[in-house]
Amino acid sequence: MKKIDIVKNRFVFIIPSFVFHFLFYLLPIILMIILAFFSWDLLNSPSFVGLENFKDLMEDKWFWNSIVVTLKYTFFTLPIVFITSLILGLLLQEENSFSKIMRVFFYWPYMIPMVAGGTMWKWLLSKDFGLVNHILKQLGFNPINWLDNPTLALFSVVIVQTWVLSGFMMMLYIVGLQALPEEFYEAASIDGASNFQKFWFITMPLLRNTHISVITLTIANCFRNFTIVYIMTTGGPGYATTVAPLYIYQKAFTDFRIGYASAGSIVILLISLVIAYVVRKVQERDLEGGKI
C-alpha cells in the first residue's frame, strides 16, 4: 500500500536526483564543517584539533594574501566586464542576421574549455614568441614579460576572464534591452531628449535588474575562478596570482592538509555569502528608492 502512495504523490521521481544531491553536495558541506576541526593528511586517521586550523588560518599570511588576490581580481574584472558587455549588448541588441552572426564571436569564448582558452592566451602573451609583444615591438616599445611580473600577471588573468565572461553577460544585456518598453523612449523623444540622455536617464535605470544579475554573476565567476589561473600562471610569480580556490587546492592536494583546507573553504564560503548578502541589500535599497 505504502509503495503505491509514493508513486501516486510522485515523491519517487525526485529520489534519484536527491541521492546524488545528498552524496555530492549536502554530505561534502557537512563533511567540510566536521573536517575543519580535524588534522588529516588522508593517510593516517584524522585527529581532533578543535579550533587550531582556524587559529593557524588567522596567522597564515598567504591565506589572507589569496583572499586579497581574489578580491583584487574581482575588483578589476567587474568594471571591465560590466562596460564591455553593456557596450556589446547595446551594439548587438537588434534581431537581424548581422547581430546574430556577430554575437557568436563574443559568446564563443565562454563555450571554449578554459584549459584551451588559457593556453591560447599564454601563447598570445608569451614573452619571446607572442603576438602581443611582436605588435609592441613593431610600435617601438620594449617587449613585456606579461606573466612573470606580479602586477602584470594579475592584469593578464583579468583580461582573460573578461574575454571569457563578456559575451555571456552581453547575452543578458540583449535579453534585458529587448524587454524595455518603447513608450518611455517615445515620450523622451517628444521632450527633445538627446540619445545620450535617453541612454543615461532611461536605458540605464530600466536595466537595473540586468545590472544586478551581471554584477552578481561576475563576482561569483571571479570567486570560483581556478582553471584560468592554474593554466596561465599556476598562481605565480610567487603568490601574486594565487587566488583563494587555488590556495585551498594547494593546501589540500600538495601539502595534504585536508582539515586546514576545509577550514579555509569555510572562510571563503562565509566571505562569498557576505558579498551575496551585500549585493542583495543594495538591490533591495534600490527597490525602496522607487527607481522603477
Partner: protein, 265 residues
C-alpha cells in the same frame, strides 16, 4: 559605423583563437622564428601528427567521450524526473526540496572541492572514470531548468491519461518524456559541453595517465620540461573542436537557454 566597431571588436575577441590555429599549423622552426609570421608560410601538420601519434590522444578522447556521454544520459534522466516530481507532485515538504535545489545553484563547486574528494575517495571512485561521472550527474542548473519546464507542462494531459487508467510509470514514460524532448535536448547539449570542458574534477580525481581526459592531458603537456609549443597549440585546437561543432549546430538553443536562466553550474 556601428558595424565597423562590432567587426573590430569581434576580430579582437577572435585573435587568441586565430593566433593559436595559425601557429598550430607552423613547423617547429617557424613557431620559434623571429619576427613571428602571422600566417604559416608553409602549412605543417607536425604538431597535429605528434599529438595524435605519440601521445595517447585517441585514448584521452575516448575517456572524455565516455564520461561526457554517460553522465549526460544520467543527468537528463534524473533532471527530467526531478523536475516532474517537483512540479507535478503532491508530497510533503515539497517546497523544502525545491528550496534545496535553488540554494544549491549558489554553491560553487570549488568551495566543496576538498570534502567532495573525500566522499569520492570513500566511495572508491578515485582514479576511475566513474569518479568523474557519478559526482557530476546532479547539476543544479539542469535540475532548475527541468523544474521550470515541467511547471508549464499542461495538467490536462496527465489527468486524461489517469482517466484512461494509465499508471504513474506509464504517464511518465509515455507522456511526460515524449513531451519533454526540447528540454532533454537542451540539457543534453549543455551537459555534454560542461563535461567535455571540465577540468577541476578530473584534476582532483584522476592520477593515472591512461585515464586522463582531454583537458587534463592538455594541462599536463604544459608542465613538461622544454614546452613543446607546436603540440600544445595543436592539442588546444583539437580540444575545442567538439565544443565548436555543438555550438554551431545548436546555437539557437544556447542563446535561448541563456534567456531561460540556463547558467553554467
Amino acid at each position: 559605423m556601428r558595424k565597423a566597431i562590432v567587426i573590430i571588436l569581434a576580430i579582437l575577441f577572435m585573435i587568441p583563437v586565430f593566433w593559436t590555429v595559425s601557429s598550430s599549423l607552423k613547423s617547429m622552426n617557424e613557431i620559434y622564428r623571429y619576427p613571428p609570421t602571422i600566417f604559416p608560410q608553409e602549412i605543417s601538420l607536425e604538431g597535429y601528427k605528434n599529438v595524435i601519434n605519440e601521445s595517447q590522444f585517441p585514448r584521452y578522447v575516448a575517456n572524455t567521450l565516455f564520461v561526457a556521454i554517460v553522465s549526460t544520459v544520467i543527468t537528463v534522466f534524473i533532471s527530467v524526473s526531478l523536475g516532474y516530481g517537483l512540479a507535478k507532485g503532491t508530497f510533503k515538504y515539497k517546497n523544502f526540496f525545491r528550496e534545496i535545489v535553488t540554494i544549491t545553484l549558489f554553491i560553487t563547486a570549488q568551495v566543496i572541492m576538498v570534502p567532495l574528494f573525500v566522499v569520492i575517495q570513500q566511495l572508491g571512485l578515485i582514479d576511475s572514470l566513474w569518479g568523474l561521472i557519478i559526482p557530476a550527474v546532479f547539476t543544479p542548473t539542469a535540475s532548475f531548468t527541468a523544474y521550470q519546464y515541467m511547471r508549464d507542462l499542461p495538467n490536462e494531459f496527465l489527468e486524461s491519461a489517469q482517466v484512461d487508467g494509465a499508471n504513474e510509470w506509464q504517464i511518465f514514460f509515455k507522456i511526460v518524456l515524449p513531451m519533454s524532448r526540447p528540454l532533454m535536448a537542451a540539457i543534453s547539449i549543455f551537459s555534454f559541453t560542461w563535461r567535455w570542458n571540465d577540468f577541476v574534477l578530473p584534476l582532483i580525481v584522476i592520477n593515472s595517465g591512461d585515464k586522463f581526459t582531454v583537458q587534463l592531458a592538455l594541462s599536463a603537456l604544459q608542465g613538461q620540461y622544454g614546452i613543446p609549443w607546436n603540440e600544445i597549440l595543436a592539442f588546444s585546437v583539437l580540444a575545442i573542436i567538439p565544443t565548436l561543432i555543438i555550438f554551431l549546430l545548436f546555437q539557437n538553443l544556447f542563446m535561448k537557454g541563456l534567456s531561460a536562466g540556463g547558467l553554467k553550474y
